[in-house]
């Protein structure tokens, strides 16, 4: 411990060394505090990152008539929220700015943003839910691309709070399974409905057929029954007919027999009578006329009979009545046997007279009869002359009659035989018809049951058909309303649901890995450290050279060129190792090597100058500059995320340009940045050399402290 104090005492005696001790304690701050200060909260300083906002969107009209200007709303929200430093520009400006590094992020709101939001989900279209595109350029800054991811959260939140947020809720939701199942159900229901309709038609036809069949069967049964009845009647009738025919046969046979008999009798009678009549014709005529006159007379008198009878009755009655009066006047007469005999005789007379009156009452018949008799008799009288002829004729007629009767009898026999057959046939017909009728009744019953059944079936099928049709319609409607997607689009749409504002991130000049993204930074760092180390071994300015008395530039050159050669070798070796061993493949390899060499040129010149100007302290300053450049060159986080101090010194430090130039050479990008960086590095080189020359010129004049320095580093 005391040894340490002795050392420190030595250092504390001189002002320079005292200062050096202080500086020593502060050197770690260079890396620790400075670095931490620079990168304390890059995500909190996103509002300094310049972002280009390109709004190509137009207003769109929703189905309910309201206008939606989602793109401009979102843009306003983003600008107000100030999470990034948004600058509204045109697309061309934004692209140019992105390539030059003026903007680190470009957000493009496309032309159909509002229109897409408003039209709602279209099952046939690809899922695109208001696509926004964020573009970064890894050639600007690798981490800016990663920071852009935080932009997504920001944009999503801004979109959620913008006026068009409700439209984001109409974004696509996948119902694929439900839809396909519903569609299947609808198809099935359709088929069911069709089948039910067909069944119903069939059932209807069946029903009408069954109806017809039943009716027909009923009619058939009826008809058969009727036929059976008719057959019965026919049988009965035929039987009757047969019986009648039998009777007729009998009768006609008898009649024929009788006719024969009659003929025989008539013939015999006629044989007897005819001559009599012929002979007695005049007698007969007289007799008949007499009869006719007599009948006429009777007829004429017939009318009088009733009157007479009535007179008799009246007289009898009067007599009786007189007797009765007499009895009344002389009641004792009643006991008189004479009177009694008289009364009895009167009664008898009355009764007799009454009966006679009754009998003769109806004289009309008698009159008619007598008239007829008279007429008849006159006819006989008239006919008497030719009665014999008549008898002869009658005889002929009777013969004819007998012949006819014989024929009739024969025919009746035959008829009888035929009706017998008919009866048999009718009986069997009847029997068959009854069997048929009973069968038809059974059929009728069965068809009746069938008919009932088909009625029920038809009604049931009708109901089924209605129901199936309704179901099919309902399912079809429902299925049509449900948007449905195949599995890929479903996944895409599910993604869209979770992320209604689709953010595409496009990376220009993409760096493959973190390594590639940070390579420019670490290459630049390596070459600066290389220059520092080189000038720890080599001297920035050799006093001998300075004091040689030649041109100071030569002394400066003499101090620079060795370190420059070492630096060039460092650069080439660095590139080879990074390229071959680490596999960083630059887009422009040759230019990258040359740029690295230029970096070595510039850095060695600068470090030489620091050493030439500041002597030993130059190394500390070089270290400090290293720290400043590490924090402000933008090689890690974008410099805009660091405090303002670093952003201020950012353009004045050479590593800034080395990093940007190498980025473009490794990742690709416009050459302008590289050329500009290269020219600036050349300027640094020239400036540093000039200053070194100046320092060499001034260093010729020594001072006591230089001659006997307190601090030798």
């Amino acid at each position: 411990m005391r040894l340490a104090l002795i050392q420190l005492r030595a250092l504390s005696r001189a002002r320079l060394t005292r200062a050096a001790l202080v500086v020593l304690t502060l050197v770690p701050l260079l890396y620790g505090a400075l670095y931490l200060y620079a990168f304390w909260n890059p995500y909190g300083n996103l509002n300094h990152i310049p972002a280009a906002l390109v709004v190509e969107d137009h207003e769109a009209t929703a189905t309910d008539g309201s206008t939606v200007d989602a793109g401009h709303d979102l843009a306003d929200q983003l600008v107000d929220r100030q999470v990034f430093a948004w600058h509204r520009t045109s697309a061309a400006e934004a692209q140019k700015g992105l390539s030059t590094g003026k903007y680190l992020i470009e957000l493009r709101i496309p032309a159909d943003f509002s229109a897409d939001l408003v039209t709602g989900p279209d099952p046939k279209a690809d899922p695109k839910a208001g696509q926004l595109r964020v573009t970064t350029d890894d050639a600007n800054n690798y981490l800016a691309g990663l920071l852009a991811r935080s932009a997504f959260t920001e944009i999503r939140q801004a979109a959620g709070s913008s006026a068009a947020s409700k439209f984001f809720n109409q974004m696509l939701i996948g119902f694929s399974d439900l839809k396909s199942q519903t569609q299947q159900a609808a198809d099935g229901a359709n088929q069911l409905a069709d089948g039910a309709a067909q069944a119903q038609d069939g059932a209807g036809q069946l029903e009408s057929g069954a109806d017809s069949a039943h009716a027909g069967a009923g009619q058939l049964a009826e008809g058969l029954t009727t036929a059976g009845n008719g057959a019965d009647q026919l049988t009965r009738g035929l039987r009757t007919l047969d019986a009648g025919a039998a009777q007729l046969a009998d009768g006609t046979a008898q009649a024929a027999a009788g006719g024969q008999l009659l003929r025989s009798k008539v013939d015999s009678a006629a044989d007897k009578v005819e001559p009599v009549l012929r002979d007695n014709a005049a007698l007969i005529q007289q007799a008949a006329t007499a009869i006719a006159d007599g009948a006429d007379a009777v007829a004429a008198d017939a009318d009088a009979l009733p009157r007479l009878a009535q007179d008799a009755v009246d007289q009898a009655t009067t007599a009786r009545d007189a007797l009765d009066r007499l009895a009344v006047e002389h009641p004792s007469l009643t006991n008189d046997p004479t009177w009694q005999r008289a009364r009895a005789a009167a009664d008898k007379a009355v009764t007799l007279a009454t009966s006679i009156k009754a009998k003769v009452q109806d004289t009309t018949q008698v009159k008619a009869d007598m008239t007829r008799v008279a007429a008849l008799a006159r006819q006989v009288a008239a006919a008497a002359p030719h009665l014999a002829d008549d008898v002869k004729a009658a005889r002929g007629q009777v013969d004819a009659l007998a012949d006819g009767l014989n024929q009739l009898a024969t025919g009746a026999d035959r008829l009888h035989a035929g009706t017998g057959d008919a009866v048999n046939g009718a009986q069997s017909l009847s029997g068959g018809l009854f069997k048929l009728a009973s069968g038809a009744r059974q059929l009728d019953d069965g068809l009746g049951a069938l008919e009932d059944g088909t009625h029920r079936l038809a009604s049931g099928l009708s109901t089924l058909d209605d129901g199936a049709t309704k179901l099919a319609n309902g399912l079809s409607d429902g299925a049509q309303k449900i948007p449905g997607y195949d599995p890929d689009t479903r996944a895409a749409r599910a993604g869209v649901l979770g992320d209604p504002v689709a953010l595409q991130r496009q990376t220009e000049h993409a760096a493959a890995t973190y390594g590639v993204g940070f390579a420019p930074y670490f290459l630049a760092l390596a070459l600066w450290v290389g220059s520092m180390i080189t000038y720890m071994v080599l001297r920035p300015l050799t006093r001998r050279h300075v004091q040689a008395g030649g041109a100071p530039a030569r002394a400066a050159l003499a101090g620079w060129l060795p370190a420059l050669l070492v630096g060039l070798v460092q650069a080439v070796v660095l590139f080879l190792v990074v390229r071959v061993a680490l596999g960083v493949v630059p887009v422009h390899p040759v230019e990258a090597v040359l740029f690295l060499c230029l970096t070595a040129v510039a850095f060695t010149a600068l470090v030489q100058w620091l050493g030439a100007r500041l002597g030993p302290a130059g190394r500390l300053v070089a270290l400090a500059l290293l720290m400043l450049q590490l924090t402000s060159s933008g090689g890690t986080y974008p410099v805009q995320t660091s405090p303002v101090f670093f952003q201020a010194i950012h353009p004045y430090l050479p590593m800034t340009y080395v990093v940007s130039g190498l980025r473009h050479l490794l990742d690709g990008g416009p050459a302008g940045t590289v050329v500009r960086g290269g020219l600036i590095l050349l300027a640094f080189t020239v400036g540093a050399f000039a200053l070194t020359t100046l320092a060499a010129w001034r260093a010729r004049k020594l001072t006591p402290s230089k001659l006997h320095p307190d601090l030798v580093m």
Binding site: Q547, G549, L702
Partner: protein, 188 residues
């Protein structure tokens, strides 16, 4: 003939005091001037100041012609791993002179680290004359040298002076008769 170096009232003051003070000196071509004084007397500082290679705080210095430094320890130190030839080549490149000074030394292949004090002085002279200066200033002429080597060195310096180059030599003590003029510095 005008002096190669003309100093009037030259002085240098630091926080620690005067390094040298009130120096009046004119050095003419072909002159061998010696600056003598004890150690830490500011000899080297004055030497360098006269060459125009040192800060001064007072006085006036006028120089005509080129002033080159010979061996001045701490100022013109040789590169240990280079030979005389390397040094000469280097000097020629830095200065653009053509004079060949190799003949003044007999050991061109020796590395500087292996040189003796005399070698260093002689090398210094060789290097200083590359650019054909008007005056050569050397320091520590008598340090680290034996009497004989010292005499040899003074002889070389005299030769230079004879060639018309003014020589200013700083040493502790000046042997009598070697220098044309002697400036004695005293420590305060």
């Amino acid at each position: 003939m005008e002096p190669v170096i003309s100093a009037q009232g030259l002085g240098l003051r630091t926080r620690r005091g005067w390094i040298f003070r009130d120096v009046d000196l004119d050095v003419y071509p072909g002159e061998l001037v010696a600056i003598a004084g004890p150690g830490a007397s500011g000899r080297t500082s004055l030497l360098l100041a006269l060459a125009g290679r040192f800060a001064t705080s007072t006085g006036k210095l006028v120089r005509h012609g080129r002033a080159d430094l010979g061996y001045v320890p701490g100022v013109t130190d040789l590169e240990p791993n280079l030979t005389l030839r390397d040094h000469l080549r280097e000097r020629r490149l830095l200065v653009g002179g053509a004079r060949d000074g190799e003949s003044r030394s007999g050991t061109p292949e020796k590395l500087a680290r292996d040189t003796s004090a005399l070698d260093r002085q002689l090398w210094g002279l060789a290097l200083a004359t590359v650019a054909t200066p008007a005056v050569v200033l050397v320091d520590a002429v008598d340090s680290g040298l034996s009497t004989e080597e010292g005499g040899q060195l003074w002889g070389e310096l005299r030769k230079l002076a004879t060639d018309g180059i003014a020589v200013v030599a700083a040493c502790r003590e000046v042997p009598d008769g070697t220098a044309d003029r002697v400036v004695i510095l005293e420590t305060s």
